[in-house]
């Protein structure tokens, strides 16, 4: 896994509800293997044009309680399908935290995301726990990713991690 990630930050507010974000009850029959279709529902509950704006390697930036509610898998699958590289948020619902990590999507907890505006180019240093806003040059501190979780993300998610553990002599 690269230590530094660069991309555009797409900012969302507090209490982003997971099911609303991907319009789950409208899209519940979408096959979770259909990446193309899933990419088209990513965050559309809050920004209907988001799948056109968000590019491979970009970041979603949330506020507090990101991914709340009775989360279904379509939410984080759609984020991954669009190619979003990581989610940065002030706090996340524990279900999303676990499922995102287990699906290989890094979640970066950052005490305040106020220094990031929609569309800002940012760089994340995962090792040091630093996020640089390349527009303002402001550097903000985030949590570093625990080695336990990094191991899972490096294997592409929980399935890869288990496989690698089982293959160890």
């Amino acid at each position: 896994m690269e230590k530094r990630l660069k991309g555009t930050a797409w900012k969302f507010g507090d209490n982003i509800n997971a099911d609303e974000a991907c319009q789950f009850y409208k899209n519940m029959n979408l096959d979770l293997n259909n990446r193309e279709a899933l990419a088209k529902i990513c965050m559309t509950g809050y920004d209907s044009d988001f799948p056109k704006k968000g590019k491979e390697g970009d970041f979603i930036v949330g506020g507090k309680n990101f991914g709340s509610g009775h989360m279904h898998a379509h939410f984080y699958y759609s984020i991954k399908a669009l190619g979003i590289r990581a989610v940065i948020a002030e706090s996340v619902f524990h279900r999303l935290y676990r499922e995102a990590i287990n699906s290989g999507l890094p979640i970066i907890i950052c005490p305040s995301t106020g220094a990031i505006q929609n569309g800002d180019p940012i760089e994340i240093d995962l090792e040091k726990g630093l996020i640089t806003n390349e527009r303002t040059k402001e550097v903000i501190r985030s949590e570093t990713l625990s080695p336990v979780l990094k191991e899972i993300i490096e294997q592409g998610g929980i399935d890869g991690y288990i496989k690698s553990e089982l293959e160890k002599p």
């Binding site: 509610g69 524990h94 279900r95 287990n102 089982l166």
Partner: protein, 418 residues
Amino acid sequence: MGMTISEKILAKAAGKRKVEPGEVVRARPCFSTSHDFYTYPTWTGRLDRIGMKKLANPERVAVVADHFIPATTLTWANNHRGLRNWAEKFGVKYFYYGEGISHQIMAEKGHALPGEFLASDDFECTTLGGVGCFAAGIGTSILEAYALGTLWMRVPTSIKVELTGSLKKGVTTRDLSQRVIGDLGDGGALYSVVEFAGPAVSQISVDDRMSLCARLVYTGAKTAIVSPDEKAIKYAKGRAKASFDPVTSDPDATYLEVLKYNLSELEPVLAAPPSPVNSQPISKFKGTRIDQAYIGSCASGRLDELRRVARILDKRRAAAHVKFIVAPSSAEVLKGLSEEGLLGTFLESGAILGSPGCGVCFGSYGGLLASGEVCISTTTNNVAGRMGSSEAQIYLGSPETVAASAIEGKIADPRDYL
């Protein structure tokens, strides 16, 4: 600095002397369980593709069929067949079919134990905190628990809810939990354990503690727990399938927040549409006409609750226009009703007795709502579409509130019947 009960349980499971909130540990749950919704073919298919040849601890695994039983469609008949074959192939020690809802029977069958760590693939398992067990909903990490016997856990912070006084007649721990859920709100207990403590706890039965811990996930809580006392230990001792070590919080443990409730001041509370955190006093909706009244689920439907419901229903009948459905949380609860001679009371009240299971709660089978209908229910969640039509309205309340409402055919205050 002392540790909370949750920190102690996780430290032990992680093989460490101490853990700190925020720290990510790899822990070994004492017991792991999953139910029919995802186990076959989703989890089993992934484990096959991963190449798992054997379960890490088959003697500490239970697979529960509770979401679609008895098989509600041909697909589910086939899935249950597949589930059973998989469990046999991998030597899963406990296979429960139709014995009740996982979050109830894990306690009844002695798998969720005081001071121990249980992992379930279902995030609603907070109910099991009622026996003093740290029960964590871990979704896809069940794959790791099954294959390797471990899983990662970010140690949660703890919020203490201190209880004093005693509940008045007609007010239950279900009302208390709804108050707490409303006060904390969505995200109010994010990544925390809600720990119920204080002098009032000792009066509360284990059944009612389970109803108290249920549904706390809607505040964003990791789980909920009641420190085990003699009552919880007695409950567990007669059932335990393994040894257990009941720990409690240290007096100098650190809490993110402490909330205080005087139980004597509580009133019946409802979760009104549109969300499970929308707590409202019953007075606000008294008289609202209902079409369906349901008592059951992992959140309520235990023996203590149904005994009290029977007192309300005694020699009374549900209103003619109401579909009144009662499904005890488990076969053991149903047996208890039978042994205590209470089944007749339910049948004479006009209740349709459902089989123990999850169907009504998540709108799968056994009592779906039509467009425009209003339901009062003891289930877990009231978001639009949860129990059938997204044009139906769901109010959540205590079993006593639902029983009183069934009789009147409109939302009613159970205190008028006691």
